[in-house]
């Protein structure tokens, strides 16, 4: 199981700023290991963020997003104390879901 995400959601100027740091190798499938064999691709393919059951962002990624991906976005309508849930799924079908409280 992958390490938890770090999610920071801050309410400011009527919007909520969300910063997410995920823990993932994001292996491109083009890199070779020490013995010269290709390291198989392993990367997050889709990301979804929801607030009170409503989707506030979805993303489709390829392997060119950096290792331990960082994502920042803003949405309107969030209140302090609400939860923001972020879920990712990688190309091997592995999933991880974490939540952050808006403050």
């Amino acid at each position: 199981m992958a390490d938890p995400m770090r999610i920071r959601a801050t309410a400011r100027d009527g919007a909520v700023n969300v910063k997410v740091l995920m823990s993932h190798e994001m292996e491109t499938g083009q890199r070779k290991d020490a013995s010269g064999k290709l390291v198989p691709a392993h990367y997050i393919r889709s990301v979804t963020a929801t607030h009170q059951g409503k989707t506030v962002l979805t993303a489709q990624w390829g392997p060119a997003v950096s290792k331990n991906p960082y994502l920042e976005f803003d949405f309107k309508g969030g209140q302090k104390g609400d939860k923001v849930v972020v879920t990712w799924e990688d190309n091997k079908g592995e999933k991880r879901s974490d939540e952050g409280v808006i403050n």
């Binding site: 083009q30 890199r31 198989p40 489709q60 990624w61 060119a64 997003v65 950096s66 994502l71 976005f73």
Partner: protein, 151 residues
């Protein structure tokens, strides 16, 4: 190398068929995504996401360094001031597969995104924005001192 690549493509196809049959993905959508990420040139990737001849726009603002030391971690932020922004897509022209990431912006979410991308070499980076059903594009060159792909 070729063998494993074929195998990977085969497995990918199988997974796609499975997702399609399970009704999780709509056929058009699923094909568009899988195809677009495997396209080798900018023009092909743009065609695969359905954006032919996007109009250049000054309402798309890039916040990215002109020179990045490490191509493995290039911070890129894009802000779209176009009304009715529906999606933001990032493409790096000279990467092996130019399509990097695509973000769907629902109503209520601001048209601005920050993330970090890998770049193999100095290249133009494109932000493609879909707003009110039309495609717009802006680009910025980012110089790379140390490549972030392969190694």
């Amino acid at each position: 190398m070729n063998h494993s690549r074929r195998k990977a493509i085969k497995t990918g196809g199988g997974l796609l068929a499975l997702l399609l049959s399970a009704g999780i993905l709509k056929p058009g959508e699923a094909l568009a995504q899988a195809d677009a990420f495997s396209m080798k040139t900018l023009a092909e990737a743009l065609r695969a996401v359905g954006a032919q001849n996007p109009a250049a726009s000054n309402a798309i603002v890039f916040k990215a360094p002109a020179i990045a030391e490490n191509g493995a971690v290039v911070p890129v932020a894009v802000e779209s001031k176009l009304p009715g922004t529906e999606s933001i897509t990032l493409l790096v022209e000279k990467n092996p597969t130019p399509l990097v990431a695509s973000f769907v912006i629902p109503a209520g979410t601001t048209g601005s995104i920050s993330t970090r991308v890998k770049m193999g070499q100095t290249s133009d980076v494109y932000a493609l924005v879909k707003a009110e059903g039309k495609f717009y594009m802006a680009k910025q060159e980012i110089k790379i001192t140390l490549g972030g792909c392969g190694g």
